[in-house]
């Protein structure tokens, strides 16, 4: 692929706009619809006990979904080359950075300052930051720099990453830092960096991560309880044990829609970070496989779009958006099923949360736009082109 990218870069690219990518669009809407049903089921009891209204979370999520769909449509009509504009990119990056710093000025929720209260909902700037990061990296890497060179190619990318990570780690939000870093790594891979450099980055990343974990006591506690959940069943292991009970209760085919027991406030964050556990409990292992298949379809479409985009920036943009989605799905389900230590990442398109919903739908609006400029390759033509 690296050679392919280079070839493309030498060519003068002509971007021809073609039809709308309905399969991807339908898949996104279908996952959102499924998500609304599951989120409603997961949040109903909590809504009653916390707000006296079982529909509380559904109503709000429906509004977020509506706003997100508007964003998706609008951005799908904005030609993606718009984001190549350096000024716009820098403004967006500085905006997100500023907003992230701004969160620190507000009172903490659950001992973390991650949100800016806007009255109707709380804005989580780092959700936005994921895709601003993707755009920024795509811009840097597509500007004819030699990605084989550590200093010229990789270091600017790392600076972009690290600067964005500073306020994020101050929130503190380690899982977001991890997500940023993983996304950056995938994009550096897509951008054609040397394997040896990437290995260096892996070692560096591991050292930094270890340092950050050692820095804060609760993080190492999470690691301990990840390794041995029985060490603190009512404390740091509580969520993961409750999540396991949910998956266990679901079994192969689940208890059936609405029949989760763990959503009766046993499992914290059931409508949010741990919604996949409720899905596992109600729809079982089979339901979870179906959900993973749907996400796999999105990822596959995203990879296809990236591969067929004639523009290097478009390629990196599509690849970045897709990798954010993929990494986040893996992180969320991995945490819920106890395969990864406890962190707080939403399940895209499904978890309750305004910023996440709106930002992901908007990002997929961008992806849908990139998709309109792919080289249409018929099965026969594809072979002759190679």
């Amino acid at each position: 692929m690296e050679t392919a990218v280079r070839k493309t870069a030498k060519r003068t690219v002509t971007l021809t706009r073609h039809g709308f990518d309905f399969p991807l669009f339908i898949a996104v809407v279908a996952i959102c619809a499924f998500g609304l049903v599951m989120m409603y089921s997961a949040s109903y009891y909590y809504g009653i006990t916390s707000h006296g209204d079982g529909l509380y979370f559904l109503k709000r999520q429906a509004i977020f979904f509506g706003i997100g769909m508007v964003g998706l449509f609008l951005l799908s009509f904005v030609k993606f080359t718009f984001y190549k504009n350096g000024v716009i990119n820098i403004l967006a990056y500085l905006g997100v950075l500023g907003l992230t710093f701004l969160t620190l000025a507000f009172p903490p929720v659950n001992e973390a300052k991650r949100w800016i209260p806007l009255g109707f909902f709380n804005l989580q700037p780092t959700e936005l930051g994921k895709f601003v990061l993707v755009i920024s990296l795509a811009n840097i890497m597509s500007r004819r720099v030699n990605m084989q060179n550590l200093i010229v190619g990789i270091v600017p990318c790392l600076i972009v990453l690290v600067v964005l990570c500073i306020p994020t780690i101050m929130q503190p939000n380690l899982s977001m830092v991890v997500l940023y870093a993983l996304t950056t790594y995938v994009m550096l891979y897509l951008g054609g960096t040397k394997r040896s450099h990437r290995l260096l980055l892996i070692v560096l990343g591991a050292v930094v991560l270890a340092a950050l974990i050692m820095l804060k006591g609760y993080r190492s506690g999470r690691i301990t309880s990840f390794i041995n959940p029985e060490s603190d069943p009512t404390g740091s292991s509580y969520q993961s044990i409750q999540s396991r009970i949910a998956f266990g209760n679901g079994g192969l085919f689940g208890q059936g829609l609405n029949f989760s027991r763990q959503k009766l406030n046993f499992l914290p964050e059931r409508e949010n970070d741990y919604i996949s556990a409720i899905i596992g409990e109600e729809l079982g292992f089979v339901g979870m496989l179906g959900l993973l298949a749907a996400y796999f379809f999105l990822v596959w479409r995203g990879i296809t779009i990236a591969a067929r985009c004639p523009d290097k920036f478009g390629k990196l943009l599509a690849g970045g958006i897709t990798s954010v989605l993929a990494i986040q799905v893996v992180l969320n389900i991995g945490v819920a099923s106890g395969a990864l230590p406890s962190t707080g990442q939403t399940l895209p398109f499904i978890s309750y949360g305004g910023t996440s919903m709106i930002v992901f739908l908007s990002a997929f609006g961008i992806l849908l736009n990139v998709s309109r400029y792919t080289e249409v390759v018929s099965k026969n033509a594809k072979r002759s082109d190679e």
Binding site: T49, I241, G248
Partner: protein
């Protein structure tokens, strides 16, 4: 789900509430209730279902209302270990309402509970025993039959959310408690009351330390009454004084051994007659002492009884004659009889703490000991063993296992266990038994048992006076156990009654004067109560019809015939017992019943009681005290906890039964 996760899941999804099984009742042979349950409540907490911020408030409120220590309550409220904790048991309805009114959330609840009541008070207290606050048996049958009485608690399992709120659509599983089985005793509360009355009198009249008594049906081995006085009230056992409680609740008839003395001669006599060592015509000479192996053993009458036949020897309770009988049978033969009579081993009655007595192995005894055993020394038995052995001696020669549980019936009425007479072995022949009866009747008619003679009935019996020993095994001067064992009727014996008076402090210390009159009293009452008609001896008369007469006229008419009468009032007689035409012995007491005027009914039935002092009592205690007297407790509902400080009718005022007594409760130091 893995089993570990499954266990954790089920325990957090459900809330289990224990539903106490009702403890089985204890009834006497006529269905009279001896032990039953009253409805009370208990306070239960579920610590995991309390909000973290609520715990201190809950602990403060509950400790105040239930009069418990705050730190203890708080500790229980924060317990991680238990799902359910019973905070306080046996609270009354008013306190229950007060707890409910506090609305302390899902973590606190009140559940019905029960408290044991003994309607007959101290009657049969050593047999029945008592329970602790958790309704577990602690003494007597309550302890030994706890397994049957306690039943199996039920459960209610309900699905809840994480805060313990019941789910609207959740399933609830109800496992019904299996109530305890009923014990039906062979005892009769009427006979028991005769015995206990006589024992109390015996203690009082003789200024004695205590008195024990037992009545057995010698045809079956059923224990009809059993008591040790002084007793205690199982409704309120003296729990604070463990030593006293142990002493009072000890069933000494079965648990204590003593040297029986002359009453034991019945055993020697039976063995000697059955073995053929003596006949009714054998003659004995008593010079006042016998020389056994060079040791001179005195007869109780140092002057001696001179020449006497077997019956006279028994009438005189002559030690020399009985030494002679024991020696002539020889060790081996006499011991066979001792063991056959069940001595030296527990009778198997099932009474708690039954002792087996002390019968020294024949290898280790000398002829001197053997001679002493002949008149009831150098051997130790329990009163129950002796009574059971005498039953066998007089009932035709068969030993039956004594028993006190007649039936055990489960909650649904099905019989779980039914006791029947258990013949163990034939000890002596029918004819030997008949001779024993005749000789023992003669003891009562002409000999040392004269004080047990009952007008109109043939009674047999034997006195006994035994020395007590101190802790070093030396004879303790001036400390005696006087006893008498009697049976009736002689021809067809039914009742055997043994009474022991421990350490009487009167001038004449003999079984014949200290114990026999009380056996007489008991046997007379028992015979009449069980409808045994007096037939033998005495002049008989036919009872006239006195109905329609005024009470005074009726009494006069009866007294003219040599009968006595008891009567409730001076109205017209409407009924009598026994009925007209029945033949009774002179001196018999006829019961006369008078009509009750409907107008007077209320005044007739009204009886008066003294108001007790309720000061310092908890509402439950006050309720119990008043209930016992037939009075009603009225409390101010707003604060029904604490201790009584005021009552509207002051103590010792006499009021009619059913009167409401208003009482006021508060915590110490609280302002009025």
């Amino acid at each position: 789900m893995g089993p570990d996760i499954q266990r954790r899941a089920l325990s957090q999804w459900t809330r289990t509430t224990t539903i106490s099984a009702s403890r089985g009742e204890i009834l006497d042979c006529e269905g009279e209730v001896l032990a039953t349950n009253g409805n009370v409540f208990k306070v239960v907490i579920w610590p995991k279902q309390m909000g973290d911020s609520d715990r201190e408030r809950i602990a403060a409120e509950l400790s105040r209302l239930l009069n418990l220590d705050y730190t203890t309550v708080l500790k229980r409220c924060t317990s991680e270990q238990y799902q359910e904790i019973v905070l306080k048991r046996q609270i009354d309805a008013a306190t229950r309402d007060a707890v409910d009114a506090l609305k302390l959330g899902a973590g606190v609840g009140t559940v019905s509970d029960s408290k044991r009541y003994y309607p007959m008070g101290s009657l049969l207290s050593q047999v029945i025993g008592f329970t602790n606050v958790d309704n577990r048996g602690q003494a007597g049958l309550e302890l030994s039959y706890d397994e049957y009485l306690s039943g199996t608690d039920g459960k209610q399992i309900a699905e809840t959310d994480s805060s313990g709120n019941l789910l609207a659509y959740g399933t609830r599983e109800y496992i019904e408690p299996i109530n305890g089985d009923k014990l039906i005793l062979t005892c009769s509360s009427v006979m028991e009351s005769y015995l206990e009355r006589a024992l109390k009198e015996a203690v009082e009249v003789n200024n004695a330390k205590s008195a024990q008594g037992i009545i057995m049906d010698c045809r079956t081995g059923a224990i009809l009454a059993i008591s040790s006085q002084p007793g205690y009230d199982p409704n309120d056992p003296p729990r604070s004084d463990m030593e006293l409680l142990n002493q009072l609740s000890r069933n000494r008839i079965a648990a204590d051994v003593y040297e029986p003395g002359s009453t034991f001669k019945i055993i020697t006599l039976s063995a000697a007659l059955d073995s053929g060592a003596v006949t009714k015509n054998s003659s004995f000479f008593c010079p006042g002492s016998s020389n056994v192996n060079g040791e001179s053993i005195h007869c109780w009458r140092h002057a001696g009884h001179g020449s006497q036949d077997l019956t006279e020897a028994a009438e005189n309770s002559c030690n020399c004659a009985f030494m002679n009988m024991a020696l002539s049978m020889g060790k081996e033969k006499f011991y066979d009889y001792l063991y056959a009579f069940g001595l030296g081993s527990s009778t198997g009655s099932g009474l708690i703490g039954e002792a087996s007595g002390i019968v020294t192995h024949e290898k280790y005894i000398t002829d001197n000991d053997l001679a002493r055993i002949g008149f009831g020394q150098s051997i130790a038995v329990t009163p129950l063993q002796l009574c059971s052995a005498v039953c066998a001696a007089v009932n035709g020669g068969e030993l039956h296992r004594p028993y006190i549980i007649d039936r055990i019936v489960d909650d649904k009425g099905a019989t779980v266990f039914s006791a029947d007479t258990t013949p163990i072995r034939r000890v002596i022949s029918e004819s030997a038994s008949k001779q024993v009866r005749e000789i023992l009747q003669s003891v009562v008619d002409n000999g040392t048992g004269r004080n047990c003679k009952i007008e109109g009935y043939a009674v047999g019996g034997k006195t006994g006076t035994a020395q007590k020993y101190d802790e070093y095994g030396r004879v303790d001067q001036g400390r005696y156990i006087c006893s008498f064992i009697g049976f009736a009727p002689v021809n067809d014996p039914r009742f055997v009654c043994l009474i022991l008076v421990d350490e009487p402090q009167v001038s004449s210390i003999y079984g014949s004067t200290v114990a026999a009159p009380f056996v007489k009293e008991v046997l007379e009452d028992v015979l009449r109560y069980s409808g045994v008609k007096p037939t033998e001896g005495g002049e008989t008369v036919e009872i006239p019809d006195v109905s329609g007469m005024s009470a005074e006229d009726a009494r006069a008419a009866l007294e003219e015939l040599g009968l006595s009468a008891v009567c409730q009032s001076n109205d017209e007689i409407i009924s009598q017992l026994p009925a007209a035409g029945e033949t009774v012995v002179k001196g018999y007491q006829v019961m006369l019943f008078t009509g009750i005027d409907p107008e007077d009914e209320e005044t007739e039935q009204k009886s008066y009681v003294k108001v007790p002092d309720l000061k310092g009592k908890t509402p439950l205690e006050a309720y119990d005290m008043l209930r016992k007297l037939g009075l009603v407790l009225v409390t101010e509902t707003d604060d029904p906890a604490g201790f009584c400080y005021k009552q509207d009718i002051s103590p010792n005022n006499v009021v009619e039964v059913g009167r409401e007594i208003k009482a006021f409760f508060r915590f110490e130091g609280q302002d009025e």
